[in-house]
Amino acid sequence: MRDAIVIGSGLAGLTAALRLAKGGKTVSLISKGPGGLQLSQGTFDILGYSPDRVSDPLDAVGALAKTKPEHPYAVLGADAVREAAEFVAGLVPDLLAGDPASNVNLPTAVGAVRPTALAQPSMIDGAVKDGNAYVVVGLRRLKDFQATLVAGNLDRAEVPGGGSVSARAVWIDVPARPEEADTTGLTYARALDDPNVRATFAKAVAKQANAGEIVVLPGVLGLDDHDAWRDIAQIVDHPVCEVPLPPPGVPGLRLFRTLSALARDAGVRMINGSKVIAKRVEGDRVVSVSISSAGHAREYEASAFVFAPGGFESGALAVDSYGHITEPALGLPLSHDSAEGLIHGDFWGSDQALFEVGVRVDQSMRVLGPDSAPVYSNLFAAGGILAGATRWREKSGEGIAAASALRAADTILGEEK
């Protein structure tokens, strides 16, 4: 019997577990896979577009309460988001920097200019500003960073706030594993944890940079050594900016590995590779959840539960061939139960309403039923499972995840007091 069980090891689950453990609770964290952080870009987004580009995300969060009352931010409010950003940044000070009240615009791996609130220090020197000159360095063996495309688009980018930048591409061939032509970002990142490899790498990069240029590199500058990029920047002797790649994303993995280690250190019991398949209820309380394991289901009891399994991308929300939408693990009520009419055929058109489906919650993140009353007194939801946001379009995933997780954890901690 634990004080709390957290389900899910993305940013929401890890944040909730850490907050609860630091508040003195005994916590188990059950996760099916390695969580959503490695799917992400490894920054802390609060709100990037609403729907136009946002420069002051906390102000824009405050405004959402009026324009999108179903949005998680309408329930959470800007103060909670600021507190959550500061809490997470405080946990990983060497991985997240910046001011939650102000967005920074960073180049992406197609050369777009993407707003985010907090970024990894290895990215921040790339912030797109009028007059910047970039050299984008591609690695011949890394297919997920098409330097020529990145530079071409960055060169013609519309700079937020006006002005222009210039960018050019170069390609180098520094192998991480000499025998192979097709090397993943993760393999590069592991190789660059080795000071000797990164010295060779940095020297090759240094030859390509002209005076005054910012060096743009794929987001592979070390996995567990968070200072790897500093070494590289020092040898290159230019500002360096790493750009997140498609999954598995190394910057996101850094956050996942660091936060997981912190959770373990704080006494959180990690139950990995475990899919929650059922719950047991007594009265208005969830008593336990069960996971599938070899031969039989295994039951875990707790006083409170934080459900942070992600959204459609993790399989936490599912649609069957008849269009019924369900939450398969706990069978919770959703904002919609049919996909009919929620998808349209224009890829570049308005948001697909399907991806805003999720569980509805009250101010304390208790899951609500169709009658808008809490379904269970001790079940809280956080992160991608919440209804009301297309996180990838708004660039709001981490802000929603961390703020809802803190709210849920603080409710549990507060009720104990």
């Binding site: 799917l39 992400s40 870009q41 990037g48 577009y49 580009r53 992406t108 791996a109 197609v110 050369g111 777009a112 200019v113 993407r114 063996r141 297919k143 997920d144 098409q146 330097a147 020529t148 495309l149 071409g152 688009n153 060169d155 013609r156 519309e158 591409a169 025998e179 192979e180 032509a181 097709d182 997140p244 790649l245 498609p246 999954p247 994303g249 959204g311 459609f312 991308e313 993790s314 399989g315 599912a318 649609v319 069957d320 061939s321 008849y322 269009g323 996909a339 998808i343 349209h344 055929g345 224009d346 890829f347 570049w348 399907l354 991806f355 996180r391 990838w392 379009r393 660039k395 995933g397």
Partner: protein, 526 residues
Amino acid sequence: MRRLQADVVVIGGGSTGAGVVRDAAMRGYKAILVDKSDLGQGTTGRFHGLLHSGGRYVVSDPGSATECAEENAIITRIQPGAVEETGGLFVATPGDDPEYGDRFLAGAAATGVPAREIPVAEALRREPRLNPGIFRAIEVQDGSVDGWQLVWGAASSAIEHGGQVLTYHPVTRIEHDGDQVKAVFCYDQKGGEDVQIDCRFVLNCAGPWAEGITHMAGLPPVPVIPGRGIMIAMNHRLVNSVVNRLIYPADGDILVPVHTVSIIGTTDVKESHPDDLPIPRDEVQQMFDAGEALIPGFRRARALHAWSGARPLIKDDRVSASDTRHMSRGMAVIDHLERDGIKGMLTIGGGKLTTYRLMAEHIVDAMCAQLGEQRACTTADEVIDFNNDPPKNYVITHRLEDREEDRLDDQIICECELMSKRMFVEALDEQPTGTLDDLRRQLRLGMGPCQGGFCSMRAAGIAHDHGAIDVERATGLLRLFLKNRWIGLWPILYGDQVRQTALDDWIYQGTLDVEHLPVPAEEVVR
């Protein structure tokens, strides 16, 4: 204005047109094929991939059955790389007419379609996922065929014999001098110029678009009706061989293993225009139900992509005009001299991919007859060597074998379909102005489970880095590719494909912020 000379202009770059330009070129005519878009972008690229044994027609359309059986053998021989000899089964599922099997076997004997009843237990051994309640099974020689490999193979053979192929050249006008066709005018969309092709014959092989072509010649409409059918590609091969219902031809009664997927089809609904083909949700549900009848649990399998194609059916006065299923699948050549008094123009309609070579033979024979010339058809005799040396029939493990060879020397750009960088770059060199979809049809780029999620950005980047296209076009091609993939995704968005779409959206919209790249003044559409 560019001016070209030809004996014959073939209009339409589907299988029929490609077969016709090859046939005409092999008979020594100077032949030019024109198409408004890419080869195999119409009906040829939008079917289920079945190389008919003829079994489907042994009761309903005996003439077609015999043609299919003969052509199946020829195509398997002359275009081995496009054909996989999967074999096929007709199975009676619970509730199906038990007597139909007898009529089927009698029909097969009468039409020369090889068919043999096998024990149900043997059928279940070959196809373990089949409904265990099946009570009859008949083995036939169905195969699966890649329509794009077929059409590109025929086109490349035509070019070897002196033919010319002009894609993205929509016809704008067909000129006749008195009662004799003189020239075809088209517009070179990529080169941005008008083209005049002087000729003495026009062969209208535009399939469901045929009527638009006769209109451009100032001729009355031809009775060709678009009969729309939807198809759904399911992830993996749910069956090892083609599985058909042992019933009178109906909707959703065929499941075909093609490359890494299996395709269920199809429906048959009359449409007014071949460019406007919906994928209605009720027809999608109908396909799932039909799939369940053959393969229990079909609905829990993963659907990857859906599409609609339009058959060019010839109106037959004997059936009602709205009942396209039972219009003739047979081919018909319309002689505009006989019908309209115009010399030098023929239209062909009907037919099916399996008999494309025979259709070409018929229309070129008719042209020779009108010209008063004796030139024999030789298309059945020459094996086409297209990306396939030495000639061998396709098997699903070919790409795996190739990648095992080069896995340390080359990058895999599309992991789902095992497409290497070298394959992509070579195709790009051959079609430098192609879209990612044009290249997809030859390479299967983006056709697997991730539907472009991981490969599109790589492909756009390589196309820009390697090829002659600028960053605006590369980005426009990426936008177009994602948009086009979505057209076939959203009608079947359930199960794991919802999850995949959410992941793909995280990548393109979340991490890459593709939608906020500078939007081109005009979207790239070709």
